[in-house]
C-alpha cells in the first residue's frame, strides 16, 4: 500500500498503472521578532514512482520508489526571547543568525523572564518565546517498497516490505494484510499488520555539541577519533488496523477503521534540545531584586521509550445528483499515551467539469493537544554544576553535576508535540485523456496556528508558520501501457504496424534517437542516469599528486581539500506528441541528485575539518524540443532537433554553516542545472538492415546568456556519437557505441560567498574533452502483456579524459531507459 492510505477502499484503481509524480513543499520564514535570519526556510522536493502490475490473473504487484531532498532551517529549541538565541554573528548581519543555546536568564518573582539593562536593572517582564533556528545542509532520503497481493474471489491477501534510507536514519518495514468482500461486494473488511525496525545514527552538530548536555543518552553516544559525537540507537514499531467499507446506497459509501500502534526504543529527535534554566542558590546575588538568576543550559531532549496510540478514521462519499459531483467527508480521532489527542476533519468536493476534467477543492482542519512532557523551556531549582572549593586554599574539592531526577523524566520543546491547530485548503485538478493517460496537479496552503487549537490553549503565536505544497503527476493506465497490444485468446497480434525502427533500438544513453512514426501518437519515457567520478585527480590527461593539486589547483592559494567521489543521479521523464507525421514535440522534466565526498589533501597543513560529504537534490532544468523528420525510408531515418533548456534547476544551492562560518554557495558541480536558457540543436541518423543497426548523432548546447542568476555560466557543449547494433533475437539488440564530448570552460564565477578550499570551487577546473565507449542492451517487447514497451540499458566506460585544470576522473555512466508509444 502506498504510505498514507487508510485500509479499505485503497484499491480504487484496478489493473495496471504507472505514475510519475513530483512535489514541492515550502515553508515560510518563522517570526524571529528582532533577529533577521539568513537561513532559508524549509523546502522539500519529492519524486515518486509507482507501478502496479497484474503479471498473472489474480496477482497484483505494486512497486513504489520515493525520494525527498530536504534543506533549510528548523527550530533546534525554544527559548525566552530575552535570551537572544538567534544571535547575529556580525554587526552588519552579513551571515545568518547562529543558534545560541546557553546564556544568562533573569526572572521575576513569578519565574517570568525579564529584560535587564546593562546596569542589571529590570526593564520589563517579557514572557515572549521564540524558536532558536539552525539550518541543515540538503539531505536526500530514498525509499523503495513493494506489495504483492493475491485475490481469490472475494478474499485478497497481501504482503509487502520496504526500506527507507537517509544518512542518519534507516527504516526497514513489512506489512501483511487481508481483505474480505461480502454481500456481493457491498461490504468489505480489511486487516493490516505492520512492523518497522528503525535505526538512528545522528551526527550531533559539531558546532553546537560542546554546548549541549547529552547525559540523557550517554550510553547511546559514540565518540569518534576526531571528537565527533554520533547518537546511535534504534526503535521498533508495530501496528494493527481493522477497517470496514460499506455501500450505503447507489450514491454513497462509507468506511471506518480503527488502528492501534506501539513504538519502543529511541523516540526522540537527536537534533533538538531543551533549554533548562538552572537556579543555583549560590549565584542568586546576580538576581534582580525579588527575582531569580538562572543559568541556561541546553539538554538533549528526552522522551519516553514507549508510545501507544489509537486512531479511528471514518470517511464518507456521497454523489450529488444536480451537479454530477461527489462530496467527501472524513474525520479522524487520535489518542496516545503521551497525552496527545488530535482531531482531523476534512471535506472535499469532486466536480467533473466535462471533457475529462475534474476539479476537487478541499479544506482540512486539524487540532492536537500538547504532549504531557512538552515544555518550551524548563526551570530547575538546582545548580547546573556545584563546585565546592576549599575556602582557604581555593582548591576544588568536588564538582557535582545537576541531579537528573529533579528534572521531569521526559522533556521536549519540539513543536510537533505542542498544542496547536492547523487549517489548510487546496485544489486538485485532474485531466483524464481517453487514451489512458491522466494528469493531476495539486496545490495546498497550510497555516499552523496555536490559537486554532480546539478549545484554545495552544502555543502562542511565535510558533505559527505557513507552508504551501504543490505537486504534479502523470499516470498511464492499462490502455496506454499495453501500447497497441491486447491480450487475445486467438493469439492475434494486435500490435499494429511493426516496422523495426532502428531508432527504437538506439542505446539507452542516446537522447532524441526515436521519432513517433504517425501523427496523433503520444510517447512516454523514463530515463535514469548514474554518473560516477572517483579515484585520481587529473590535470589534462594525466593523474596528479596531492602536492600538485595543493600548489596549482586553486588559482593562487593552496588547496586544502579535494573531491574523492562524486555521484550524480538523474531521473528524466520524457513526453512526446506527434502533431504531424514529420514533426514531434517533446517535453523533458528532470530530477537531479548529487553527492560529493570531499577529503582533506595530504599536505603540510591538512584541514582535518575539511572532510565532509554534501548532497543536493531537486528538479533540474526543463527541456522542450521540436524534432523534424528530414528523410525517412524503410531502412533509414534522418531527423533534426531544436531544443530549448529552461533554467528550472536551482543554481543557488548553499551549504550550511559549519564551524561558526558561513560557506555560501556549494561547489559549482553540485548545482542542479545550468541556470541559463540554452539552445540544444541535434542531428540524428539511424539505419537498419536485416539484423544490423547503425546510428550517429551530433548535438550541442549553446548558452544563450553570459551568466546565470548566481553569476556564472557553464561552457557550451558539443557531442558526437556513433553506434552499431546487432539483434540476435527479433526483439533484443546489443550495441557498441563511441562518444566524443567537449564541454567548454565555466565562465564567470559566483557572485557571492562560496567555498574555496578545493579545485572543485574554481571555474578553471571545469570543462574538457572526454572520450567514452558504451556497451548496451535494448529490447522491444514483441507480444504479451507489455507489447510495444521498450527497455534499454547501457554502460559508458571512459577511455580518455582531457580535463581543464584539476578534476576528479570519471569511472563511468549507467543509463537505463523505458519508453512506450501509444
Amino acid at each position: 500500500m502506498l504510505p498514507g492510505l487508510a485500509p479499505g477502499g485503497a484499491r480504487a484503481a484496478e489493473g495496471d498503472e504507472l505514475t510519475f509524480q513530483y512535489g514541492q513543499y515550502q515553508e515560510d520564514e518563522r517570526d524571529l521578532v528582532d533577529a533577521k535570519s539568513d537561513y532559508d526556510p524549509i523546502r522539500a522536493d519529492t519524486l515518486l514512482f509507482h507501478q502496479r502490475l497484474t503479471p498473472a490473473d489474480r496477482w497484483r504487484l505494486d512497486l513504489t520508489y520515493m525520494q525527498d531532498t530536504w534543506s533549510g532551517a528548523t527550530p533546534v529549541t525554544t527559548a525566552p526571547l530575552v535570551l537572544g538565541g538567534n544571535h547575529p554573528t556580525s554587526p552588519d548581519g552579513v551571515s545568518g543568525a547562529t543558534p545560541l543555546v546557553e546564556g544568562d536568564l533573569f526572572l521575576d518573582g513569578n519565574l517570568q523572564p525579564v529584560a535587564v539593562n546593562e546596569f542589571g536593572e529590570v526593564v520589563a517582564t517579557d514572557p515572549r518565546l521564540v524558536h532558536t533556528m539552525s539550518s541543515a545542509s540538503p539531505e536526500t532520503r530514498m525509499q523503495g517498497q513493494f506489495e504483492l497481493g493475491y485475490d481469490w474471489s472475494g478474499v485478497e491477501l497481501d504482503f509487502g516490505a520496504g526500506l527507507s534510507y537517509e544518512d542518519d536514519y534507516e527504516s526497514r518495514f513489512a506489512s501483511a494484510g487481508a481483505s474480505w468482500e461480502l454481500d456481493q461486494s457491498r461490504t468489505s473488511f480489511d486487516l493490516v499488520l505492520r512492523f518497522a525496525d528503525n535505526e538512528t545514527q545522528a551526527l550531533l552538530d559539531p558546532d553546537a555539541v560542546p554546548y549541549i548536555d547529552t547525559r540523557a543518552y550517554q550510553g547511546e553516544i559514540d565518540v569518534s577519533g576526531s571528537g565527533e559525537r554520533t547518537l546511535d540507537d534504534d526503535r521498533q514499531d508495530w501496528s494493527a488496523a481493522l477497517g470496514a467499507t460499506q455501500i450505503l446506497s447507489k450514491n454513497a459509501r462509507v468506511e471506518s477503521s480503527v488502528a492501534y500502534a506501539r513504538s519502543r526504543g529511541y523516540l526522540a529527535n537527536p537534533y533538538k534540545v531543551v533549554e533548562v534554566g538552572f537556579i543555583d542558590p549560590a549565584q542568586q546575588f546576580l538576581a534582580p531584586p525579588g527575582g531569580y538568576y538562572a543559568q541556561v543550559r541546553a539538554l538533549l531532549e528526552k522522551r519516553p521509550s514507549l508510545r501507544s496510540l489509537w486512531t479511528w478514521d471514518t470517511r464518507f462519499v456521497q454523489y450529488v445528483e444536480p451537479f454530477g459531483a461527489s462530496l467527501h467527508l472524513g474525520y479522524r480521532l487520535y489518542h496516545d499515551d503521551w497525552g496527545i489527542d488530535a482531531h482531523t476533519l476534512e471535506a472535499s468536493w469532486a466536480q467533473p467539469l466535462g471533457a475529462g476534467w475534474t476539479a476537487i477543492p478541499r479544506v482540512r482542519y486539524y487540532s492536537q493537544s500538547e504532549a504531557d512532557f512538552y515544555a518550551p523551556y524548563l526551570i530547575s531549582d538546582q545548580a547546573f554544576v556545584s563546585v565546592v572549593s576549599d575556602p582557604d586554599t581555593g582548591e576544588i574539592i568536588s564538582v557535582t553535576p545537576y541531579d537528573p531526577a529533579l528534572l521531569p523524566s521526559s522533556y521536549s520543546s519540539d513543536q510537533r508535540l505542542s498544542g496547536f491547530g492547523a487549517l489548510s485548503g487546496g485544489l486538485t485538478l485532474v485531466k483524464q485523456f481517453a487514451r489512458g493517460v491522466r494528469l493531476e496537479a495539486d496545490f495546498e496552503y497550510y497555516a499552523h496556528r496555536g490559537d486554532l487549537r480546539l478549545g484554545g490553549g495552544g502555543e502562542a503565536d511565535y510558533a505559527d508558520w505557513d507552508s504551501y505544497r504543490f505537486s504534479a503527476s502523470v499516470t498511464l493506465d492499462a490502455n496506454a501501457l499495453q501500447a497497441f497490444g491486447y491480450r487475445s485468446t486467438s493469439g492475434r497480434d494486435g500490435h499494429g504496424d511493426h516496422r523495426a525502427h532502428a531508432g527504437e533500438r538506439a542505446p539507452a544513453g542516446v537522447l532524441l534517437a526515436h521519432m513517433l512514426p504517425d501523427a496523433g501518437q503520444f510517447g512516454l519515457g523514463y530515463r535514469y542516469v548514474l554518473g560516477r567520478q572517483a579515484g585520481d585527480l587529473l590535470h589534462g590527461a594525466s593523474s596528479v599528486s596531492d602536492a600538485q593539486v595543493i600548489a596549482l589547483g586553486c588559482e593562487g592559494d593552496p588547496c586544502s581539500t579535494a573531491p574523492r567521489r562524486m555521484d550524480m543521479q538523474m531521473h528524466m521523464l520524457e513526453w512526446m506528441y506527434a502533431p504531424t507525421d514529420w514533426l514531434n514535440v517533446m517535453l523533458m522534466a528532470q530530477f537531479v541528485d548529487m553527492k560529493m565526498d570531499v577529503q582533506p589533501l595530504a599536505g603540510p597543513m591538512p584541514d582535518l575539518h575539511g572532510a565532509h560529504d554534501h548532497s543536493t537534490g531537486g528538479p533540474g532544468d526543463t527541456l522542450g524540443f521540436l524534432l523534424f523528420e528530414l528523410a525517412e525510408t524503410e531502412t533509414q531515418s534522418l531527423h533534426f532537433g531544436l531544443g530549448i533548456s529552461a533554467p528550472t534547476g536551482d543554481v543557488g544551492e548553499k551549504q550550511r554553516r559549519t564551524h561558526q562560518e558561513d560557506v555560501g554557495y556549494v561547489h559549482y558541480g553540485m548545482q542542479l542545472g545550468s541556470g541559463t536558457w540554452d539552445l540544444l540543436p541535434s542531428l540524428t541518423w539511424t539505419g537498419s538492415l536485416d539484423r544490423f543497426q547503425l546510428g550517429g548523432q551530433v548535438s550541442g548546447a549553446r548558452r544563450l546568456e553570459s551568466e546565470n542568476r548566481s553569476g556564472y555560466a557553464l561552457g557550451d557543449a558539443f557531442q558526437v556519437t556513433a553506434w552499431a547494433g546487432y539483434s540476435p533475437l527479433d526483439w533484443l539488440s546489443v550495441s557498441l557505441r563511441g562518444v566524443y564530448s567537449m564541454q567548454g570552460e565555466l565562465r564567470g564565477e559566483y557572485d557571492g560567498l562560496h567555498a574555496d578550499s578545493g579545485p572543485m570551487d574554481f571555474p578553471d577546473n571545469y570543462g574538457g574533452q572526454y572520450w567514452d565507449v558504451g556497451l548496451g542492451l535494448s529490447a522491444v517487447l514483441p507480444d504479451g502483456y507489455l507489447a510495444g514497451n521498450r527497455f534499454a540499458v547501457e554502460w559508458l566506460e571512459p577511455v580518455h579524459d582531457d580535463a581543464n585544470g584539476y578534476q576528479l576522473e570519471r569511472t563511468g555512466t549507467l543509463f537505463v531507459n523505458w519508453s512506450v508509444d501509444f
Binding site: E14, G15, A56, D57, R58, S153, D183, Q184, S185, A434, Y486, R487, S488, T489, S490, R492
Partner: protein
C-alpha cells in the same frame, strides 16, 4: 439496526445461494431491446442456438477485458449455431454507446436499463456470463472475467456447441 432488516438480508442471501447451487435451471425469458434501439426481441426466440449471455456495463473494467475474447468466440463458433448476446445494464444508454465506440463488439448487443432481466437471472457480479445450451438450460454461470480464464471458457463453449449437434434436435 432492526430485526426486519436482518431477516430480509438473511432471506436474500439464502435465495441467492439456492439459485446458484440449483441443478438444471431453465433460462428465464427476457424482453430485449437492441442497444441502439433498432429492434426488440425475446430471449426465448434464440432457443436452438448455444447462447452466451453476458451482462455488462460501461463502468466495469473486466467487461472491457472480455470484449476481445467474446469477439473471438463469435467469430469461431458463430456459424455453428452459437451466438454471444451482450446485455448492457447502464442507466444511461449514452455510456453504453461510448463504450462500444472504444471497444467494438462483433456480436448482438441488447440493453436493459430497468434491471428486470438481470434480476430474473439472479446476477451477482459484473460482468456475469450465462452459458445456455440449445434447449434453453443454463449450463454454466461465470462471475467476472480474467484473461487466464479464456481458454477454459472457450472449451466449455466448444463442448456445448459440439454436444447438441451430435445429439441432433
Amino acid at each position: 439496526m432492526e430485526w426486519r432488516d436482518i431477516a430480509r438480508g438473511a432471506t436474500c442471501a439464502l435465495a441467492l445461494a439456492t439459485a446458484a447451487t440449483a441443478g438444471e435451471r431453465q433460462a428465464p425469458d427476457c424482453s430485449l431491446r437492441a442497444v441502439d434501439d433498432s429492434r426488440r426481441w425475446e430471449l426465448r426466440e434464440m432457443r436452438g442456438r448455444v447462447v452466451w449471455v453476458d451482462f455488462w456495463a460501461s463502468w466495469c473494467g473486466s467487461c472491457a477485458e472480455a470484449v476481445p475474447f467474446l469477439n473471438d468466440l463469435e467469430r469461431e463458433f458463430g456459424a455453428q449455431g452459437f451466438a454471444v448476446l451482450g446485455i448492457n445494464l447502464d442507466e444511461e444508454p449514452r455510456d453504453a454507446l461510448e463504450f462500444l465506440a472504444r471497444h467494438p463488439a462483433d456480436f448482438a448487443q441488447a440493453a436493459d436499463a430497468d434491471g428486470l432481466c438481470p434480476r430474473s437471472f439472479g446476477v451477482e457480479t459484473m460482468p456475469a456470463a450465462y452459458l445456455i445450451d440449445r434447449r434453453g438450460v443454463i449450463r454454466h454461470v461465470h462471475a467476472g472475467f480474467r484473461p487466464g480464464e479464456a481458454a477454459g471458457l472457450r472449451a466449455r463453449v466448444a463442448e456445448l456447441v459440439a454436444e447438441s449437434q451430435r445429439e441432433g434436435r
